[in-house]
Structures are given as C-alpha cells and as structure tokens.
C-alpha cells in the first residue's frame, strides 16, 4: 500500500496538523502517521470519521485509481 498523499494534502488544506486530525477523530497521532504513510489500513468507520473531519468523501481520500483501469 502506497502513501496516502490525498489525505495529507486534504489535511494540510484545512490547516490541520496530524495531532489536530487525530484529536478530531479520536485516535493517536501515530495512527494518522501510519495511515498517511500507508503502513496501516484503517477501518471504514475511521475512514468515515476522517472524511467528516476534513469535509471530504471516501472517494476523495481513500479511493485508489488503478493505472490498469482505462
């Protein structure tokens, strides 16, 4: 799993730090770091909480476009 740059960009766009986002969704900062690094695959529940905190949809942040899909 690659880095989730979309999440990082969305977080930066609303001016939230990793700690700020972590507090907003009730997890540790290390969990946000792990998600952004692609080291941890969050549950749908946490994905939804993150999307709500950032004002985005699941597709915006977590849908991966595959190169082989035309």
């Amino acid at each position: 799993m690659g880095k989730n740059l979309k999440l990082k960009a969305a977080r930066a766009a609303v001016g939230l730090t990793q700690q700020g986002l972590a507090d907003a969704v009730g997890v540790t900062r290390q969990t946000i770091v792990a998600i952004e690094k692609g080291d941890y695959n969050p549950t749908v529940r946490l994905c939804i909480q993150i999307c709500r905190a950032l004002g985005k949809t699941l597709d915006d942040l977590f849908w991966e476009e595959r190169d082989d899909v035309s």
């Binding site: 990793q18 700690q19 009730g26 997890v27 969990t31 549950t43 946490l46």
Partner: protein
Amino acid sequence: MFRKCRNDFDERQLLQRGNVFKHGIILFFLLVAANAFLKEEGVTWAEGMWENLLIIWAVLGLCLGEFAVKEIFPIGGGMTVIYLVEGLCGLFLSAMCLTEVITGREAMLIGPHTLSRTGAQMISGGIMVLLLLVFLGKKVYNHRKGDTEDEA
C-alpha cells in the same frame, strides 16, 4: 482504581496489542514444548523452579519489549514507572548475582548444562535491564527523530 486502568486504545493500537499477545503465546508454547522435550531427554537446564520462571520471564520480556517499541501502554503513563522500577530492580539483582559469582560464593552453573539459581536470577535481572534499555532507547529515538508533526 479499575477505571484508571482502563485505556482508550484506537483501532490500530488494539490490533498491535493483539499481535503482541499473539507473539507472546506463540513463544510461550514453543518454550514449553522445548522444555518438555529437554525434560524427556533428561536435560535440566536450570535449577528447580527457575526453568519455569525463566520461560515466564522470556514471554513477559517479549510482550513488554514489544509494548515499549510500539508504544502501547496498557495503563498509560503508569507504564513509565513500571519500566523504571522493574529496570532498576533488574540492575540491582544482576549486580548482586554478579558480585556473588565474582567473589566465588556462588557459581553460574551447577552442572554441565544446568544454570544455578544465581545464574537464572542474573538472566532474569538481565531481561529486566534490557526492557528498561529498550524503553529508554525508544524515548531517545522519538526525541532525536523529533516526535512532532508531519513525519509521513
């Protein structure tokens, strides 16, 4: 009191904690099986109850070590005190046993393959000191890495 012991792990931490316990149980089964095999072969590798105690210590050491590395602390900040006290006790125990061995009052081995009580205690103390070092090492690592923002 019990309320203080409750934790607020997030989903990633719960997953990691489960993995730590899994590793602990696997190591425990392996060590118990190895110990049973050695017993069957007539090998006693430590004096008296110390075979069993060292197995328990090895499993506890693995779990506590992984907790320290992954920063999953079941009772939050209280774990710092536990690591410090346990490490200092281990240091004292190791030093005491080492002194006894050096002065010749006790031996490390009581047979060709059998650890004496003192030797087993020294190993237990060593595990305790190692855990403290892992805990402190992780703290230093976090500090040097600058455990702040945007490390991704």
